[in-house]
């Protein structure tokens, strides 16, 4: 590594007065404000920046921006360490810690460089061909070593400590790219009155103008443009904002990043954020990327894109070479050569074309550039740093030129990536040897280098036109912008790059994936003719740089081998640049992953020893600590409580819908399988709803509180489904029915008071109200006002015990709950949770959502066939009659008693008849299990082929995951109180 100072004493867009210290593998270094990690390293004379992916060849920076394939770094420490960041995109900040990648033990001395010697064995697709035949099983042995050798950086193992966000934004016109075309477009659209957002991935606006020295006259144009934009109140310029991809509806995903090296996470400052921006019109001013030339050892440190060398010189005042050789096939290479020569370098230009315009020759001569036309660079000489360039002249003789910088300008590829995955294929333009955007849909426009227009005057002209067109598209008539007369309008001509005669050494088409011309040759010889296959077989374009400097060269090589003209390309897909996974997650991590839904009684449960579980989005008390310390013991104590005295449980999560109107009875008759129109006021009924295909949608109860006012409950899980179902029917199928459905799940807290003493408990809690068997019979309902609070009391039971459901307005829920607990305290009332609630009903044989109701089974499968009315039509009625749904061999509801006292049954266990081979799908499965406090044994509900026709039979419950087989007997699912005496007490 040369220690010669590389920073010019003056010039550049940097602030030499602000020193920024950083480390490289622990070694302290210094840069200045405005540096990237790349420019700072180059200024410090460090040009070896990594080892290549497969062959571990020493590499230097190829570019200066987003196209960089070689210089990937791990930046940050500990859990913040982020691998594979291009050093050209890392803003230098105080204390930055960076390491180079892929060298063992170090990039400077890498043992894995042996791979370069083994390269004949490691060509494209080697792993498909090597581990075949008798060695097939050995792939798993070798894979471990290959995997360790593969990849570039190492991901950190700790959780990401940074914060990320997502945001939403809207604009009339989005302009992507703040180069000359983008600046002109934003200004034109803004002056026409449109709301404009201009995004630029760089830290500064200006695009290609930033590679020109700030001292030269075009800087004025840039500053004027920015000032004009700042004066327009409806124009926003966002730097450090990268457009990741274009989506339907003119939606663009933008990645914004913090300007601070260490964002203030304690105050919620995000490191990165994704903004979903919905624009009514978009202007793509995304510029173009220079192509490298393909010649032997074109990957050596010191071999660089010409435009990058110019940017390092003019933007960061880093001079990379005193003796420069520049190879080119296009006019822009001449411009760069002249720039570098004027900056003091000794410049030799090797031009592929035999003849160029006199204007170019004159410019080169004036700048002091030595020119060879009709020449092709054939090889870079040097291993850790280039020290000479070899080129073949028109006469076929190879010339060697000593140099310390070898620049390549193989033409420019327009950046058409953002929308190419939406189906608009780019098209090839022979006059610029590049792909340009295909015909864009309405509301989308392209301008400048992205559109194949490389002159500054042309870019600005197109930008103005596009900006005005975009503004017009969104309804803002154009204000005329003064055309700038003094902008250079240099022509651009190019001759497609010719592959030089081969020399010893690898000629790379894709630097990051280590794909050489030899690999492309192998793919061609093996018959891969489609560009998508070339990509996947060789890995060309598949690395983190996504082929920005390799795609078109690869395609051109393949086309040449096949004797075709170039023109195909693979489909680029978002994101445009690599991005943190955290940014995709945004704020939705941890407790914000999804919202939680809480009962109005939640705070009471928290304060009174509830242990919670999740039921969908709901937080529900699972059990209470008064009952025990573990779920296994607690739920049994709670079940005993309900079976023997009285308990109270929070059922607020049930869906609750108020139905109003003269036609509700008719509506319910159509929706439920059983009759509701005949239900009297003050009565409730259990109902089941089917889908059109006759599978069970939901079960619940519906109470008639007044002539035209009903109160319907659903299962917790299906509340949303049922509401949408009812709304669908009322709005599309039966629009004449006078029914209004209103969700009141949030309006009421619901509590179940259950047990043999539940009526006594209510009598104590509601003195002065008649809740006797006569006033409130089984399945009756009452509305009462107690101490000013309106309550609904329904006599329903899920558990099989005498039970009541009390609904109070949510804001009085805790007050009512506490009141009941206090009033009924002499009875020993206590709260019970979801585990006990769900287990008690098993003893009673009640089917429950998400266990027995699995969206596939029917009314008859669940033993509820007798509920179906024969007097009126209901949804699902016709398809219920399909022979397949009536077949006796369907799996239908059974009860199961465990016969092995020292074993337990498990939910999901597969059921087999005695004598069956224990394999395959069996004859059914267990849907719910509990210890029965009444029977003193484990019981279950399940679905079994042929159902209760097999009552009394002994079967096997197999749980293969734990290798268990348990004997059980098929019994009625109603394990207790089949006559319902407890219910009717």
């Amino acid at each position: 590594m040369s220690r010669r100072p590389h920073r010019a004493p003056a010039g550049g867009r940097i602030d030499r007065s602000r020193i920024v210290t950083f480390t490289l593998e622990g070694r302290p270094l210094a840069g200045v404000a405005g540096d990237t990690l790349a420019s700072a390293l180059l200024a410090n004379g460090i040009s070896l920046v990594g080892r290549s992916f497969k062959y571990h060849r020493p590499r230097g920076f190829l570019g200066a921006g987003v196209e960089e394939p070689n210089g990937l770094f791990t930046v940050g420490r500990g859990a913040r360490a982020t691998p594979n960041l291009p050093g050209t995109l890392v803003e230098l900040h105080e204390g930055l810690a960076a390491s180079r990648q892929n060298g063992t033990p170090s990039v400077g001395f890498d043992l894995m460089a042996v791979n370069d010697l083994l390269s004949p064995l490691l060509g494209a697709g080697f792993y498909y061909k090597t581990f075949m035949g008798p060695l097939r099983g050995s792939w798993m042995f070798y894979e471990r070593f290959i995997r360790r050798a593969a990849g570039l950086g190492v991901a950190p193992s700790g959780p990401d400590p940074d914060r990320y966000e997502t945001r939403h934004a809207f604009a009339d016109v989005l302009v992507v790219g703040a180069g000359p075309a983008g600046l002109a477009a934003a200004r034109a659209a803004g002056e026409a009155g449109a709301r404009v957002v201009l995004v630029e991935q760089d830290t500064l606006a200006g695009g290609g103008l930033l590679a020109l020295s700030p001292e030269q006259p075009l800087e004025r144009w840039r500053e004027d443009a920015l000032r004009a934009l700042a004066d327009l109140p409806e124009v926003q310029v966002l730097t450090r904002t990268t457009a990741l991809g274009l989506y339907d509806g003119n939606t663009v995903a933008l990645l914004g990043r913090s300007a601070h090296g260490e964002p203030d996470a304690a105050h919620g400052e995000a490191r990165e954020w994704i903004t979903t921006l919905r624009a009514r019109a978009i202007v793509f001013a995304t510029g173009a990327i220079e192509r490298p030339l393909v010649f032997a050892d074109n990957d050596r440190p010191g071999v660089m894109l010409a435009s990058a060398a110019q940017a390092y010189r003019n933007r960061w005042a880093v001079s990379l070479g005193e003796r420069v050789v520049l190879g080119t096939n296009n006019d822009s290479g001449w411009m760069t050569a002249a720039e570098l020569a004027r900056g003091g370098a000794e410049l030799t230009l090797i031009e592929q074309r035999a003849a160029v315009t006199p204007a170019l020759r004159a410019m080169a001569e004036e700048a002091g550039v030595r020119v060879h036309t009709g020449g092709l660079i054939t090889r870079a000489i040097g291993s850790r740093a280039v020290r000479a360039a070899q080129f073949s002249t028109g006469s076929g003789r190879d010339v060697t030129l000593p140099c310390d910088l070898l620049c390549m300008s193989g033409g420019w590829s327009c950046s058409v990536h953002l929308g190419s995955h939406t189906g608009i294929k780019p098209v090839y333009r022979a006059d610029i040897d590049s792909m340009v955007p295909g015909s864009l849909p309405e509301g989308q426009f392209a301008a400048g280098a992205a559109n194949g227009t490389f002159s500054l005057a042309g870019a600005v002209r197109e930008g103005v036109a596009a900006g005005q067109a975009a503004a017009r598209h969104t309804g803002f008539g154009g204000a005329r912008v003064q055309a700038d007369a003094e902008l250079p309008d240099t022509p651009y001509t190019v001759q497609p790059a010719v592959l030089p005669p081969p020399r010893r050494g690898k000629a790379f088409a894709d630097f990051q994936s280590d794909v050489s011309t030899h690999d492309v040759q192998i793919a061609h010889e093996e018959g891969f003719v489609a560009v998508e296959h070339l990509k996947r077989y060789t890995a060309l374009g598949m690395a983190t740089d996504q082929g920005k400097t390799s795609n078109l060269n690869g395609m051109a090589l393949m086309a040449a081998m096949r004797g075709q003209s170039p023109g195909g390309t693979t489909t680029f897909r978002p994101p445009w640049v690599p991005m943190s996974i955290g940014a995709l997650a945004g704020r939705s991590t941890g407790q914000h992953f999804r919202p939680a839904r809480r009962s109005p009684l939640h705070d009471w449960h928290v304060a009174n020893g509830a242990v919670f579980t999740e039921a969908g989005p709901w937080l529900r008390p699972w059990y209470y600590r008064w009952a025990g310390d573990s779920p296994e013991s607690a739920y049994l104590a709670e079940m005993h409580l309900v079976r023997e005295t009285v308990g109270i449980s929070d059922i607020s999560s049930l869906g609750k819908i108020e139905l109003h109107g003269p036609d509700v009875g008719e509506f319910l008759d159509r929706v439920y399988v059983n009759v509701f129109s005949s239900l009297a006021v003050g009565k409730a009924r259990y109902g089941v709803m089917l889908n059109d295909d006759a599978t069970v949608l939901d079960d619940g109860t519906c109470a008639r509180l007044a002539d035209t006012r009903w109160f319907l409950t659903t299962t917790t899980a299906q509340a949303g489904e049922v509401m949408s179902h009812l709304e669908f029917l009322l709005q599309t199928a039966w629009t004449d029915l006078r029914v209004q459905a209103v969700s009141v799940t949030d309006q009421y807290a619901g509590m179940s008071v259950a047990g043999p003493h539940s009526r006594k408990a209510l009598e104590l809690a509601l003195p002065g109200h008649d809740v006797s068997d006569a006033a409130l019979p089984h399945m009756g309902c009452l509305e009462i006002t107690h101490e000013g609070v309106a309550l609904k009391v329904l006599r329903l039971s899920f558990s099989g015990e005498l039970a009541f459901e009390v609904y109070a307005p949510a804001d009085r829920g805790i007050a009512v709950w506490e009141h009941i607990l206090r009033a009924a305290a002499p009875l020993g009332i206590r709260p019970y949770g979801l585990e006990a609630l769900a287990s008690l009903r098993i003893e009673k044989g009640h089917v429950a959502g998400s266990m027995e109701l699995d969206h596939r089974n029917t009314l008859d499968d669940l033993g509820l066939g007798r509920m179906a009315s024969t007097r009126k039509a209901f949804i699902g009625q016709e398809l219920r009659q399909r022979p397949g749904l009536q077949a006796p061999q369907r799996w239908s509801l059974v009860g199961l008693e465990c016969l092995d006292p020292d074993k337990t049954l498990r939910g999901g266990a597969i059921l087999f008849a005695a004598g069956d081979e224990i394999a395959g799908h069996g004859r059914g499965h267990i849907t719910s299990v509990t210890w029965s406090v009444v029977l003193g044994k484990t019981i279950a509900l399940g679905l079994y082929r042929g159902g209760l026709a097999h009552a009394g039979e002994e079967i096997i419950c197999a749980y293969p995951l734990k290798g268990e087989q348990v004997r059980a007997r098929i019994v009625s699912p109603v394990f207790i109180d089949p006559e319902g005496e407890r219910l009717h007490a």
């Binding site: 339907d248 919905r278 295909d693 669908f728 199928a733 009126k872 016709e878």
Partner: protein, 90 residues
């Protein structure tokens, strides 16, 4: 991202809506329709490339059911009506 212009609420991201299936089939009248009619209504529908009439409910908005004509190839909305208006107009 698919943007659906709700007649009452304006243009919204499709994530505010819930897809409700094919709207080209006419639902047999309640209590009517043979088993074949219902079978065809529930299980048989086309999957065209191009304009497609479908139901969407604006669940995070006004909760209206909408009849949307969407081009399945370009994923753009061609026309939107309130489902109830179309039904009543029939």
């Amino acid at each position: 991202m698919l943007i659906i212009p709700c007649p009452d609420c304006g243009a919204r991201d499709y994530t505010e809506f819930r897809y409700g299936g094919d709207a080209n089939r006419s639902r047999p009248a309640h209590g009517g329709g043979s088993r074949e009619d219902w079978h065809d209504h529930v299980f048989v529908f086309d999957n065209p490339k191009g304009p497609h009439r479908e139901y969407w409910q604006h669940v995070l908005g006004c909760r209206e059911w909408l009849l949307v004509e969407r081009d399945t190839a370009s994923n753009t909305v061609i026309a939107v009506h309130r489902a109830r208006d179309r039904e009543m107009a029939r």
